[in-house]
């Protein structure tokens, strides 16, 4: 076994699977779907090697069901899918959020709606990833933009999921899913494996959903003598259902409060050249890579342009965005959909800044030149 890190040329989807293994994932359940299938294929090799379980389930819904079941049993567990499968998984994402079951869901985005464009890239699930399941719920969405970042963000997804007891979605487009880049794989055992807080102390007085300082209750592991009840019904601290308005409000607020309370832990972003920028381009994934090149080209022409790239897409890094765009007059949002991320940016700008959208829906990635032209156009207008 290598004692030092090794550099490997990996496809994005392979990097995701290896990141999961490094993060301690020992259960994978999935269903074949383009363009995410390489994750399942890699996990089918890696899980038995690592002493974990790979199971190909009968459908997308069952895949996340099995992942939640395994996680309830204590395993770090993951599934991966793409648009149509992600839609099917939404009810179980809600279960994970409500019952506070850690799990990681990878969504390699393809064109939609419906079967859409299975082999073409898209960023059309930006809103679905946050609001796909019914009811108020808390999820975290991470949006890596390179193969090394897919590796590291998958590890971070497990850490956040375990520490905060909620579903974490790793969201990237088909282009970087199938992109091959060099990834520095840490030596085995050198990646810090985050584990959830397990219940300790007297079983008789244990409250599975007690309000703790960090708003994350410790979880009872089956077999440890706690014999708790887990349900998708709105439940009390005891785990049993309630409809009492004040209890419902208390529980709902605590669960959504986890995202606010742990904002610093959750938020991650990249701000490049934003300090003096008049124009800031905001994008994720492949679009952010095009934006970086466009921003650099604009800078070379003397235009004060910057890039803001949320790595944690949801909850959106609001304060970081606001300070990164403090000097900006114009924000350009580049995305592979008819305009989703731009809605959040417009909300954050509140009309105080010009917000322009580059929204591409033809199944092709946005090219740097498109963004560069837009930057120049808006700059000359200023």
């Amino acid at each position: 076994m290598p004692s030092q890190s090794t550099a490997r040329d990996l496809q994005g989807n392979q990097a995701c699977a290896l990141g999961a293994v490094a993060a301690g994932c020992r259960f994978y359940a999935g269903y074949p779907i383009t363009p995410s299938s390489e994750i399942a294929e890699t996990m089918s090799v890696e899980m038995p090697r690592a002493g974990g379980v790979f199971v190909q389930m009968e459908d997308e819904i069952a895949s996340l069901g099995a992942v939640l079941g395994a996680s309830m049993g204590g395993a770090k567990a993951m599934t991966a899918t793409s648009g149509p499968g992600f839609s099917l998984k939404q009810e179980h994402i809600g279960y994970g959020a409500g019952a506070e079951i850690p799990c990681v869901i990878v969504n390699v985005m393809r064109g939609g709606p419906s079967t859409g464009l299975p082999t073409r890239p898209s960023q059309g699930d930006i809103m679905q990833s946050r609001w796909g399941t019914h009811g108020d719920h808390s999820v975290i969405v991470l949006a890596p933009a390179s193969v090394p970042e897919i590796f590291s963000e998958t590890i971070r997804a497990f850490a956040l999921s375990e520490r905060l007891r909620l579903p974490v979605i790793v969201l990237y487009d088909e282009v970087i899913g199938h992109l091959v880049e060099t990834v520095e794989i840490p030596a085995p055992g050198t990646v810090e494996v985050a584990d959830r807080k397990w219940a300790t102390g007297a079983a008789e007085s244990f409250q599975p959903y007690a309000v703790t300082d960090d708003l994350v209750p410790p979880m009872a592991r089956p077999g440890d003598g706690y014999r708790t009840h887990t349900t998708g019904l709105t439940h009390l601290e005891s785990g049993f259902p309630t409809q009492e308005p004040e209890c419902v409000e208390r529980i709902t607020r605590r669960i959504s409060g986890k995202l606010v309370h742990h904002r610093e832990l959750i938020e991650s972003y990249e701000a490049a050249g934003c300090e003096d920028a008049e124009i800031v381009v905001c994008a994720i994934g492949i679009s952010a890579r095009a934006a970086r090149r466009a921003v650099n080209a604009a800078r070379a022409q003397g235009i004060k342009a910057g890039l803001f790239r949320p790595i944690t897409l949801w909850p959106f890094p609001e304060s970081a965005f606001k300070s990164a765009t403090a000097s900006a007059r114009t924000i350009i949002v580049a995305e592979l959909n008819a305009g989703q991320l731009v809605l959040e940016i417009e909300r954050l700008c509140g009309g105080a800044r010009q917000v322009e959208s580059i929204a591409r829906v033809d199944g092709e990635p946005i090219e740097p030149a498109e963004i560069e032209a837009k930057i120049r156009e808006l700059s000359s207008h200023g």
Binding site: G51, V53, A62, A70, G223, D224, H229, T230, P241
Partner: protein
């Protein structure tokens, strides 16, 4: 055996007493099935700390919460999917699924046939009361022909599933059926099902007195439960002489007890042996 285990069996040892009385309607057969299940657990000497109950949505699904064990009340139709993950990740636990005819055969039908095919060590107790009780009495995949429900107001005309035939055909290692009035027999069946290494499917014919019985003039709770006994016949329901018959549930012939038992390899053990082989091959 019944006599001795009945004397040592105190159901309160297995219940979350603070939740009682339970939410089921007067005369609901699910309570009787719950007793039989806990009695079987007691007889097998399973430590309730190692018992995991996974249940779906509906009257059947809500019964799990009353058991003093590790209980998971999951989404509609998906308890077998959750249980598959739990049992594969934690082979040390005894995993029992409680589901209903709608939960298991309609919205969860796909998971049932694949759980049968996989033959993972799980026990699935399906409480069949021919109706969606929790949502107010709609027809289910087992609502017998001619029966009235809120969605078959002039009598059902849809054919029913023979759940046991379905499970056996899909490869379940153990298949059985019992009525609630034969509580000790139901306990024995569940005991054998749990002890069986592989996927065990048990269909319990349970009565919905308040909603289904009332709407179909089947009498009050005692009449309904007594009818179970008087119409017991040693044949198969649903299929007679190779032909599917769509007669009312109670009037057709019922075969109860263990219907299928095979020694197909249990999937969890097979997977672990396979994975160990892969690891050994890499080392050498």
């Amino acid at each position: 055996m019944d006599e001795i285990s009945a004397d040592s069996f105190n159901i309160r040892d297995y219940l979350r007493l603070e939740l009682f009385p339970h939410f089921l309607c007067p005369g609901c057969g699910h309570g009787i099935a719950l007793r039989a299940l806990l009695w079987a657990i007691h007889e097998l000497g399973i430590d309730k700390n190692d018992l995991a109950i996974v249940s779906g949505i509906g009257c059947s699904g809500r019964t799990g919460a009353y058991i003093d064990a590790n209980t998971f009340h999951v989404t509609h139709g998906r308890p077998l999917a959750f249980a598959t993950g739990l049992a594969l990740a934690r082979p040390d636990l005894e995993v029992v699924v409680i589901t209903g005819d709608g939960d298991c055969l309609a919205i969860g039908g796909n998971h049932l046939i694949h759980a049968c095919r996989r033959n993972l060590n799980l026990t699935c107790m399906m409480l069949n009361n021919e109706v969606y009780g929790m949502t107010g009495g709609q027809a289910s995949p087992t609502t017998s022909a001619t029966r009235y429900t809120t969605t078959t107001q002039s009598g059902s005309i849809e054919p029913v599933f023979d759940a046991c035939a379905l499970a056996a055909a899909a490869g379940a290692g153990f298949v059985g059926r019992e009525v609630t009035i034969q509580t000790p027999a139901l306990k024995n069946l569940l005991r054998d099902a749990i002890a069986h290494k592989g996927f065990s499917f048990v269909e319990v014919l349970s009565d919905c007195t308040e909603i289904f019985g009332r709407k179909n003039d089947l009498g009050e709770s005692p009449e309904m439960i007594m009818t179970q006994k008087s119409t017991m016949r040693p044949a198969s329901y649903g299929v007679v002489g190779g032909n599917i018959v769509d007669e009312p549930f109670r009037a057709t012939n019922l075969k109860t007890g263990i219907l299928t038992r095979t020694d197909r390899p249990e999937y969890g053990a097979a997977y672990r042996a396979h994975a160990a082989g892969i690891r050994a091959a890499r080392k050498s």
